[in-house]
């Protein structure tokens, strides 16, 4: 290349193409996302975090928690379980329908201990003929869509995380490293405030062998007033404060823990389908925020 304009042209063409692809296109596709509905329940998702939790997100950012904790659950596949709920009016026909997919279950003992998974199929479409055959005979089946993969089996989440989970986050910190566990659903997994405080203060006490550094600078030691603070940490051994003193969380620790407890990303969505386990259906709405009071 003899002329510098060619050099700049090359750089311009290459960079503007990737700018359009990875800056402009994501903004057009995802940058204007708003609340959506969960599927099939139709609840609004996600809900905005409460104010204290939003302040906590700032503490999370400022302490650089993201360098050890990811906030994104991976998923390697999806499994579809056909669960028999009841035998229905024509048990024999139901059995023969079941026998077509699972010959070993084509006997009356199958109806003991319902509900029970009778087969696992590739996708919902593949389940439909069986579902119809059983339904036609008055039996009742449930189709459970289950996300799979090591992250999910570890209990870090019930499905992969998607863009919708981060709609209200700023700064979005999905993280790229797991020197500590994933925190996408930590609010659902460790919902106790006091546990969180004590874990932040002395991780090794709560989790033996933990490699997490303690965040003692988020707490203060102070003289016990007339009544001991209900938030005071229950510490024993060498960590215990001197008599007459108590260790209580600072505002930063309170905000951080409120944020951690608001982390929950397991609502079923179109782009991340799954069926929540029936026991989880009532009360707590699966939203990326604390359960509504």
């Amino acid at each position: 290349m003899k002329s510098s304009s060619l050099v700049f042209l090359a750089a311009f063409v290459a960079l503007s193409a990737s700018w359009a692809g990875f800056v402009l296109a994501p903004q057009l596709q995802l940058g204007r996302a708003v609340q959506t509905k969960t599927i099939p329940a139709g609840d609004t998702y996600p809900l905005a975090r409460p104010g204290l939790a939003q302040q906590g997100a700032e503490v999370y950012r400022s302490l650089g928690c993201v360098y050890c904790h990811s906030q994104q659950v991976g998923q390697q596949g999806t499994r579809v379980d056909v669960v028999l709920l009841n035998a229905g009016t024509n048990a024999d026909n139901t059995l023969s329908a079941i026998a077509k997919v699972r010959p070993d279950l084509g006997k009356p003992e199958t109806f003991i201990g319902l509900p029970k998974t009778i087969t696992t199929v590739e996708n919902v479409t593949a389940a439909s003929s069986l579902v119809k055959a059983i339904n036609d005979n008055g039996g009742k089946v449930e189709v459970n869509i289950v996300a799979t993969g090591p992250d999910i089996e570890r209990g870090w989440g019930r499905r992969r995380t998607v863009a919708q989970d981060y709609v209200f986050d700023h700064v979005v910190q999905p993280g790229t490293r797991r020197a500590g566990p994933d925190l996408s659903n930590v609010g659902a997994r460790f919902p106790e405030i006091q546990w969180q405080y004590e874990h932040l203060y002395a991780p090794q006490v709560k989790v033996t062998g933990s490699t997490m550094p303690p965040y003692r600078f988020l707490f203060e030691q102070r003289r016990i007033g007339k009544v001991p603070s209900p938030e005071a940490l229950q510490l024993t051994g060498e960590l215990a404060p001197p008599p007459g003193y108590e260790i209580v969380p600072t505002d930063k620790a309170r905000a951080l823990v409120a944020y951690l407890l608001s982390l929950r990303a397991d609502a079923p969505l179109f782009e991340a389908p799954m069926t929540p386990p029936p026991s989880a259906a009532p009360a707590a709405p699966a939203t990326n925020s604390v359960a509504a009071k």
């Binding site: 919902v124 009742k140 449930e142 189709v143």
Partner: protein, 210 residues
Amino acid sequence: MNPDLKKTSSSSSAETEPTALMTPMPVWPFGLMLALLFLGAWYFDLYGGWFKPQVYSPYTSLAHLEQFQPPKGGIDPLRGRKLYLDNCAVCHQEAGTGNPANGCPPLVDSEWVKSPSVTRLVMIISKGMSGPVTVNGKVWNTGVMLAVGDSLPGDEAEKSDKIAAIADYVRYQFGKVEGETTAAQVQAIRATIQDRTANFTEAELLKVEP
């Protein structure tokens, strides 16, 4: 010799800048690039989801993702059941047996449930019911059933959609009546009773076409 280590400003004036040989370009880099481009295009076609914002790994396309959506249409065993468990089972019980202790009538084989039209059921779910009611020849002195349908979350369309799912589930599960109620149907029924705030009574409901 290593020229750097003995350089002084005087000797650097003799330096010549490097030149590039204009030998022809070998073919292999192009070959490699084309081969990798081809592989890459094949890989992207397989897993890339063709720029659809809804497609996330492990799903590979919109069609693939749709195969994992909870079943829709017909009798949705999942959705109606969940809504029933959340909103109705407290009194009517999971098995639809009702609860004699608080005067809550059963749904199983109830003529109200088996009614050929869904209208009465939608009205009851929407506005609740109070006063005595006869079910399967037995009089239940129902206290008050609240206006469960009206208090479902969401706007009118969402409420209607949920009521339809509940009605279908109840009719299928407890009355063995198959049928698909649309949200529009429910919305039409609800439009006729939208200003009503009181619960329905048996007498009023019996005036409605079964």
